[in-house]
């Protein structure tokens, strides 16, 4: 038993230092992927330095060294991030401080600062990566940080690592129910002020202008684009045309978004037919547009339906985004003609593609009805030997001519671009729509995952009164692409995900692996759907569904009431108040003593039960037998180790009580 003095200014114990080193390593791991290399080197140097200080092989940095180190770190941030402010630079700066603090940690106070900095660094990590794996991993970091806190206590307990870790983990486990309660019921606020957002890295995905080759490139990517789950039954996959944006300008080579499309013009449309309700969780795309089936409306704030019926958010989607959409597939879109529409949807370059233009003029002559013309065009793609391939032969100038009349091999972008060109040349307003088609249904989770290789382009043309009509020339060439997906459509040429050997998607044919992949995907979807997306609106929806109402009072009642319940549960488990009571035999014996005390017989503190009982038997000769009977049972249970029900003992006491005359107070006999 040692006696120690307590103070915050005390040097930190060895065990706490070990915990701090471990905790720091665990906190740093998730950051390793986005930190500049020098920070990692700095961390390793600092950790080594601190270990050497502990081994008395090195000294603490002096004031000058500290200034130099801090300035060096700041300079490093400046050079690697180009600024000292902003989330990216700020996080590197914070981590540098976290790393440098370790070297000068001598007292408990320093250690506390280090631990709290550690918590911040963990939070910073969440801004860069919010996957489930990371969240689970950070539980380890947090346990280690808590263990450091415990290790700072001046107790022999804190010197033993496993009990310390068990206590830290135990406290986390006990805190978990309360944390869930807070998570569900704590009111979510909108951002209080705008903060620098993490810079999105290079994200593969649709861009606002495409050459035909671009989509072929996208089709090599197995990355997830978004997931969607429908409230009702899922429509057949051939109807799942996820619109992202329209490409209306053609410069002879590329299709790109029209500048007019940026103007916030409310499109005209009428809802018709059945509505589809679904929600979408988008992966970060660094683009402002959202994905929806035609024609969709969303309740997501600061998001609007643009003039070409795409949904656009006020700023690029930099982190995964959850939104709900209601779509009317049969809606009538822009039935009224307008000069602007004509100008946008008939634009063509001045020259080029002479054969296509000539063929368009010929078609126009033959078919007066635009609808018939479109049909004829589709028939053409169907009838002629066109080939759907991810590896089209390269074409030079007048790519559309070459594709339509020479090579006849192409990808969805080729077909959509060529068809739009021909329609426009024939005087029918048309445009290319870029987005995704189909997706992979996850049977376990009843949702659909859409990957980058599902990227697709199709055509919309405009008819007076009927408005915009969608049509997909690729369907004429390769119906499997639409009905079953890209993998089946290009099965012959083995070009599916050729570049990504390790993508799990490549191994869909192996049953158990696919099962595993789908379950894992489902787990991640649940994580995104129910954890990451649990913000203001989702909270309101959920609570509305659970309680039928949603207001502050409900939140308060749930928080206070639920919190109280959970805490009492934890308190019961921790304090075990029932343990404090003496064992049942003892309680009965106390009753025996009380009973005899009423007859003037009080057991002295040091008097054994038998001696007391004998004394009582002498004093109360008439009840002697009952007294001895009680003693026999008591001794048998308490000292002879004969297991017996307490009831037996109680019975013996009751027997004695009956034989004794009733006395209420203690007599002085």
């Amino acid at each position: 038993m040692s006696t120690r003095r307590s103070s915050v200014a005390q040097p930190i114990p060895r065990v706490a230092l070990t915990w701090l080193l471990i905790a720091q390593a665990l906190v740093m791991v998730p950051h390793l992927f986005h930190l500049p290399a020098w920070t990692i080197a700095l961390w390793l140097v600092c950790a080594l330095w601190r270990i050497q200080i502990y081994r008395m092989r090195a000294g603490y940095p002096n004031a000058l060294a500290k200034v130099v180190l801090m300035a060096g770190a700041a300079a490093g941030v400046w050079f690697s991030r180009g600024s000292l402010i902003g989330l990216d630079a700020g996080s590197v700066l914070l981590i540098s401080a976290f790393v440098l603090k370790l070297v000068e940690t001598r007292s408990r106070r320093d250690a506390l600062v280090l631990v709290f900095l550690g918590f911040f660094v963990v939070v910073t990590g969440y801004l860069f990566d919010d996957s489930m794996l990371l969240a689970l991993f950070t539980l380890l970091s947090v346990s280690a940080l808590l263990a450091s806190l415990i290790g700072l206590q001046q107790s022999a307990f804190a010197e033993r690592p496993w009990p310390t870790l068990r206590l830290a983990g135990g406290m986390l486990a006990q805190a978990l129910p309360l944390m869930l309660l807070l998570f569900v019921f704590f009111p979510r606020l909108g951002p209080l002020w705008s903060l620098p957002q993490p810079a999105g890295g290079a994200v593969t995905g649709l861009s606002d202008n495409i050459e035909p080759g671009d989509i072929a490139e996208l089709s090599q990517s197995g990355e997830l684009a978004f997931r969607a789950s429908f409230d009702g039954p899922m429509p057949p996959r051939s109807q799942l045309y996820w619109r992202a944006l329209t490409l209306e300008r053609f410069d002879g080579r590329r299709w790109s978004q029209s500048s007019v499309a940026q103007y916030p013009i409310e499109p005209q449309w009428q809802k018709r037919g059945e509505a589809l309700r679904y929600n979408v969780i988008m992966q970060p795309s660094s683009r402002p547009w959202l994905f929806a089936l035609d024609t969709g409306e969303t309740s997501l704030e600061r998001t609007r339906l643009m003039s070409d019926f795409r949904l656009e958010r006020y700023r690029p989607v930099d982190k995964s985004l959850f939104y709900q959409v209601t779509s009317w597939p049969d809606a009538v879109r822009e039935p009224e003609d307008s000069p602007l529409l004509q100008r946008r949807a008939l634009q063509l370059p001045e020259q080029g593609e002479p054969r296509a233009r000539a063929w368009a003029a010929d078609l126009k002559r033959r078919y007066a009805d635009p609808q018939a013309l479109v049909q004829a065009l589709l028939q053409h793609f169907n009838r002629e030997p066109y080939v759907y391939t991810l590896k089209p032969p390269p074409t030079g100038v007048d790519g559309i001519d070459a594709f339509l009349f020479d090579t006849r091999r192409g990808f969805c972008a080729h077909y959509a671009g060529a068809m739009t060109f021909v329609l426009r040349a024939a005087g029918i307003p048309a445009r290319v729509v870029a987005g995704y088609q189909g997706g992979e249904v996850n049977p376990a989770g009843n949702y659909i995952s859409v990957h980058q290789f599902d990227a697709h382009a199709w055509v919309e043309y405009w008819l007076p009164e009927r408005g915009w009509v969608s049509v997909d020339p690729t369907f004429q060439v390769a119906p499997t692409r639409i009905e079953q997906g890209l993998e089946e459509a290009v099965a012959g040429e083995r070009s599916f995900l050729q570049g990504s050997l390790f993508s799990a998607l490549r191994y869909r044919s192996i049953g158990w692996m696919n099962q595993l992949r789908l379950s894992w995907d489902n787990l991640n979807y649940g994580w995104q759907r129910w954890v990451l997306a649990y913000q203001g609106e989702e909270q309101a929806n959920l609570l509305q569904r659970w309680f039928g109402a949603f207001d502050t009072r409900l939140l308060l009642i749930a928080l206070v009431g639920g919190g109280g319940l959970i805490l009492s549960g934890v308190a019961l488990g921790l304090l075990k108040p029932w343990r404090r009571e003496r064992d049942p035999q003892q309680r009965v014996f106390l009753g025996f003593e009380r009973l005899l005390a009423r007859h003037g017989l009080r057991r002295a503190r040091g008097e054994g039960p038998r001696a007391f009982a004998e004394r009582a038997a002498t004093a109360l000769p008439q009840q002697a037998e009952s007294i001895r009977a009680f003693l026999r049972v008591y001794e048998a249970q308490r000292y002879a180790g004969r297991p017996g029900a307490v009831g037996e003992l109680r019975q013996a006491l009751t027997g004695l009580r009956r034989r004794l005359p009733w006395r209420f107070t203690r007599s002085t006999r």
Binding site: M1, T3, F116, L178, L192
Partner: protein, 325 residues
């Protein structure tokens, strides 16, 4: 609550809530718990993390904030649990002289679980920290300077614990009803003749009083309580066992220490007497002590010494140990 006008009320309230006792078991009536300074820092950190969660709309940041806040709340139970059920017992302590450190022994007894890092002491002095094993016993010695003679009653004892996280402090103020006798500070000085001996005025100085004053009578076997100064070591080494030289205490030649025969202020007179009591006891002299209303001896030995010192400590300073001033 150092010296505020609320102090007396606070004391009264405490005395009612946690009455003085030799044995105190800490329970929910006696334990107070609040966040410590570290806890405040922890709270501020949580607030900042919550702001990050709100502004970045980041569920995981929310989650970590809530998790740590819940850990903080659960820590209330843990911190309380670490103190609850602890039994404090007064372990007594020996008498001291003014100017020395009075040492009080406090026993901490676990009535079930182990108690970690229990700090105990009288603020503002630093607290001592110790662990009490499950069903075990911890012991610590606390000291307080003895400034005045008489009964020394240390104030309420502070028992606190910050285990496990240090973000909360649970504490209690316990009065173990401890008291310890403080003897006057012994101050050497000359003893006036009248005070030094009986009525036969011999002229020798006080310093020579001890030597050869009494007649050697013979040996007797040692009995507990005999002065160790008079042990006949030579006989012991020869294997005759412990023998004690006996001196005849000649009546009329006894040494008398008399308060009234001295001059000066009361405290210095008591200090002088104290010095001579110790001196005579060391020399194995028999002596008598006269205080107004108190007459001790003539006698020698430990018991007499204790009685004299006690009388000196309590003279005109009668505070019962059980009564609060």
């Amino acid at each position: 609550m150092a010296d505020t006008p609320l102090r007396p009320r606070w004391d009264r309230w405490l005395a009612k809530r946690i009455p003085a006792a030799q044995r105190v078991r800490l329970d929910q009536r006696r334990i107070f718990i609040v966040p410590s300074r570290v806890g405040a820092a922890f709270g501020v950190s949580l607030l900042l993390m919550l702001l990050a969660g709100i502004n970045y709309q980041n569920s995981l940041a929310y989650g970590l904030t809530f998790l740590l806040a819940s850990v903080g709340i659960v820590a209330i139970l843990h911190t309380y649990r670490n103190l609850a059920g602890l039994v404090l017992k007064a372990g007594g302590g020996g008498a001291v002289f003014v100017g020395e450190q009075a040492r009080f022994k406090v026993l901490l007894e676990s009535s079930g679980r182990a108690h970690q890092a229990i700090a105990i002491g009288w603020p503002p002095a630093e607290l001592q920290s110790l662990d009490v094993p499950a069903l075990g016993l911890g012991e610590c010695e606390l000291s307080q300077p003895a400034l005045r003679r008489g009964w020394l009653r240390p104030g309420r004892l502070k028992v606190e614990s910050r285990f496990p996280l240090g973000i909360l402090v649970a504490w209690s103020w316990v009065d173990l009803d401890q008291a310890l006798l403080v003897y006057p500070r012994p101050l050497p000085g000359d003893l006036p003749l009248a005070a030094g001996r009986g009525d036969d005025g011999e002229e020798s100085g006080s310093h020579q009083l001890g030597q050869g004053a009494d007649d050697y009578q013979g040996l007797k076997t040692y009995q507990p309580g005999d002065s160790k100064q008079r042990l006949h070591w030579k006989a012991y080494s020869r294997g005759h066992g412990l023998l004690v030289k006996e001196f005849a205490a000649l009546s009329g030649r006894d040494l008398h220490l008399d308060l009234d025969a001295l001059e000066g202020d009361l405290e210095s007179r008591l200090s002088l007497l104290c010095h001579w009591v110790l001196q005579f006891c060391n020399e194995g002299q028999a002596f008598a002590l006269h205080l107004p209303g108190v007459q001790l001896g003539p006698d020698s030995g430990e018991t007499h010494r204790e009685a004299c010192l006690r009388a000196l400590a309590l003279y005109a300073n009668e505070q019962r140990p059980g009564n609060r001033p």
